[in-house]
């Protein structure tokens, strides 16, 4: 057992650190879920892509560096340590791209991956519906065959669609066979957000910004070329993304380690006035450290051919709670100033509150851990 990195990995890390030091924009960007924030990030992501730092683990032909998973985690640590902003492209990069690599046709890969890598096409996810949140298999929005035009007509409604207010395209599941049982008869579609028949209503989140949107579909046409995987096989295709979302890909430890470092700086500045917060500061740092080390364990397992499986739910439970706890103690350290809207810790706090809700609520994750990892009996839901 070791945590030693090869010379090549260390050189990769150093190169990233150096480049980020020179190129990360000074000062905070406007919030992600605003028009200005989105525009600023498109520009930043183009800069990243031009130097091939936007998707380091991808193949070179799609702007990547063929980086190993170890290098990817090292890069993410450097990325967040440098103060670089959260990516607007993250839904596409971490949720959709792995599916395109696995299930996409060569044409779909060539069409979508480069534009995703350089920020010219930013993707939103369209999973949830008013009657299907964590219970995703109960979605009702339909896809009906349009043989004449060689494609499908989408109808229905999606909600809580992250990034859809400003993004270019979206991906989601629709029921293409109404007679099949819940998990079958679903198809995975890619579509432009400015398609005819598609209307978008942005929804302001707790932070006041339209991070969500509702999507209304009225005979939105999608050609066969934009079906991902086989028609009717959407659930299986989508589940590999859900695993990604709960597991490693969306939440690299660098982000929490960077926040824990900022928390320690805040403690140095203000801790003397709040001795009773000491334990919570230590525990927040500890949790970030635990998450970092746990991730190296996951990387080791994946590199040896293992998979994340239900451990992704353990991971999601931990990081979502760690993120909230870390920000809560920072706000307590800030005292009465913590309610001021221009306080960056407050933005981080409001964002962290969504963690235990999205990507499958933490209650759903606990059921998965209890049933799949601990082997407790199913049933009894809601009792």
């Amino acid at each position: 057992m070791n945590l030693d990195f090869t010379e090549g990995e260390l050189a990769f890390r150093d190169e990233a650190r150096e480049w980020l030091r020179e190129h990360v924009p000074a000062g905070p960007m406007p919030p992600l879920d605003t028009a200005e924030g989105f525009a600023a990030r498109r520009e930043w992501e183009a800069t990243l892509a031009a130097a091939r730092w936007s998707v380091v683990a991808w193949p070179e032909k799609y702007h990547g560096r063929d980086a190993s998973m170890v290098e990817w985690v090292l890069f993410e640590e450097e990325y967040y340590r440098s103060g670089a902003p959260v990516r607007a492209a993250q839904n596409g990069i971490s949720l959709l791209a792995p599916i395109i690599f696995e299930h996409g046709t060569p044409e779909q890969q060539d069409r979508y991956l480069p534009a995703m890598a350089d920020g010219t096409e930013i993707w939103a996810q369209a999973w949830s519906e008013p009657e299907a949140g964590s219970d995703l298999a109960s979605i009702r929005s339909t896809a009906t065959r349009d043989e004449a035009r060689g494609g499908w007509l989408l109808n229905g409604q999606k909600t809580w669609s992250s990034r859809a207010a400003f993004a270019d395209r979206a991906f989601g599941l629709f029921r293409s066979d109404p007679t099949a049982e819940r998990h079958r008869g679903l198809t995975y579609f890619l579509f432009p957000l400015d398609a005819e028949g598609l209307s978008i209503r942005p929804i302001a989140q707790l932070d006041g910004h339209p991070g969500f949107a509702e999507l209304f579909f009225d005979d939105v046409f999608v050609p066969d070329a934009d079906v991902l995987g086989a028609p009717g096989d959407g659930w299986r295709v989508a589940m590999s993304t859900a695993g990604n979302e709960r597991g490693l890909s969306l939440r690299s430890p660098g982000r929490f380690c960077a926040a824990a470092d900022r928390l320690l700086a805040l403690w140095r500045e203000r801790g003397a006035g709040h001795p009773h917060l000491r334990d919570r500061v230590v525990d927040a740092w500890l949790a970030a450290q635990a998450y970092r080390l746990y991730t190296w364990g996951t990387v080791t397992r994946l590199a040896a051919g293992g998979d994340v499986g239900a451990h992704g739910s353990v991971n999601k439970l931990f990081w979502s709670q760690l993120d909230v706890g870390l920000h809560e103690v920072a706000l307590d350290l800030l005292g009465p100033e913590s309610e001021l809207r221009d306080e960056p810790w407050l933005d981080g706090y409001l964002f962290s509150l969504s963690g235990p809700i999205y990507a499958g609520t933490n209650e759903i994750q606990r059921n998965i851990v209890a049933e799949r990892l601990l082997g407790l009996p199913k049933g009894g839901r809601g009792r």
Binding site: A290, V299, V314, L374, P377, G380
Partner: protein, 323 residues
């Protein structure tokens, strides 16, 4: 970078688990608490035969010269199976503090022949099992003495027999880094025991939740229980990497910070496991007749052994330069 146990370490854990699983360790622990050490001494010898007592003894002194990771692997199993005795003291601390003073003792430590216990105030004010130890030590600051034991103090964990000690013969004045190394190694081993005990408590609670029926169904079907047990799983899963991370940094500049982090996390996770296991079992778990209480009280004692969570949180902050 390979942050996982290798095959040899997994095999070692398995052979300890098999050995201890086949022995009736809870009965040995109960007898030990009543002053009947026969079964416990037998276990002591069998563990020594598997190399456990020689883990921290250098190869040229008849030991295995093993890594701290191996020590963590072994102590997790000792905790899982409730093995009684001054293991932390004899296996982990004694080889460090006796190396310069009495090199000849190391071989006898490795073979399990020599049983050593010690008190190291302020965090470890009592010597464990001084009544059966061949050598009782007092490490006060850097001063190492032999010691004589006073009257038995009972612990919440009946298998932990605690004795106040008085210095007898001065043996040595140890350098600061040796004292620090001994304390960190002890805290790490204690953390591993906590993790093992926590894993066992979770396993017992899960098993019970599958079989115990109320309101016409297994209580493990109830979401409130599922969620409590899932939270225990999460706590243990994230304490473990801190423990192994600390094993890798033992003796480095980050040793104090990382062992303290491990102790805090392992104590929290194991304590949560204990509380939840008791709640799942209900009244039967609260009886002396049921074995569950042996682990619950062990965890409570180990939470404050070799540095309380408060002591270790203070050390983490101090190491981060923010005390």
């Amino acid at each position: 970078m390979k942050f996982a146990l290798n095959d040899e370490q997994r095999d070692f854990a398995k052979s300890l688990d098999d050995l201890l699983g086949a022995a009736d360790v809870p009965a040995a622990a109960r007898a030990w608490g009543e002053g009947d050490h026969a079964a416990g001494r037998k276990l002591w010898t069998r563990l020594a035969d598997l190399g456990v007592h020689g883990l921290c003894v250098p190869e040229d002194a008849g030991g295995l010269g093993a890594t701290p990771v191996d020590v963590v692997v072994a102590f997790e199993q000792l905790g899982r199976h409730l093995v009684p005795g001054p293991h932390v003291e004899s296996i982990v601390v004694a080889p460090v503090v006796l190396a310069a003073v009495d090199p000849g003792a190391l071989e006898r430590l490795a073979s399990g022949e020599l049983v050593v216990t010690l008190a190291a105030p302020p965090h470890t004010p009592y010597a464990l099992d001084a009544d059966i130890a061949d050598l009782v030590l007092l490490l006060d600051g850097g001063t190492l003495c032999t010691a004589t034991a006073g009257a038995l103090h009972r612990s919440v964990d009946t298998a932990r027999r605690l004795f106040p000690v008085t210095a007898a013969e001065h043996l040595a004045t140890l350098p600061e880094d040796t004292v620090a190394a001994a304390f960190d190694a002890a805290a790490l081993a204690c953390s591993a025991q906590l993790l093992g005990a926590g894993e066992r408590l979770l396993a017992e609670a899960v098993e019970y939740a599958k079989t115990r029926r109320q309101f016409g169904r297994a209580i493990g079907e109830f979401q409130a229980l599922k969620h409590a047990l899932a939270d225990v799983r999460v706590g243990l899963d994230f304490a473990r990497p801190l423990l192994y991370g600390a094993a890798l940094s033992l003796g480095s500049a980050d040793s104090a910070r990382d062992t303290s982090a491990a102790k805090v996390a392992a104590a929290d996770a194991a304590y949560r496991a204990a509380r939840t296991a008791l709640q799942v079992h209900g009244a039967i778990g609260y009886t002396l007749e049921h074995d569950l209480g042996l682990w619950i009280t062990k965890v409570r004692a180990l939470v404050s052994a070799w540095g309380t969570p408060s002591v270790h949180r203070t050390r983490v902050l101090a190491a981060l330069g923010t005390a």
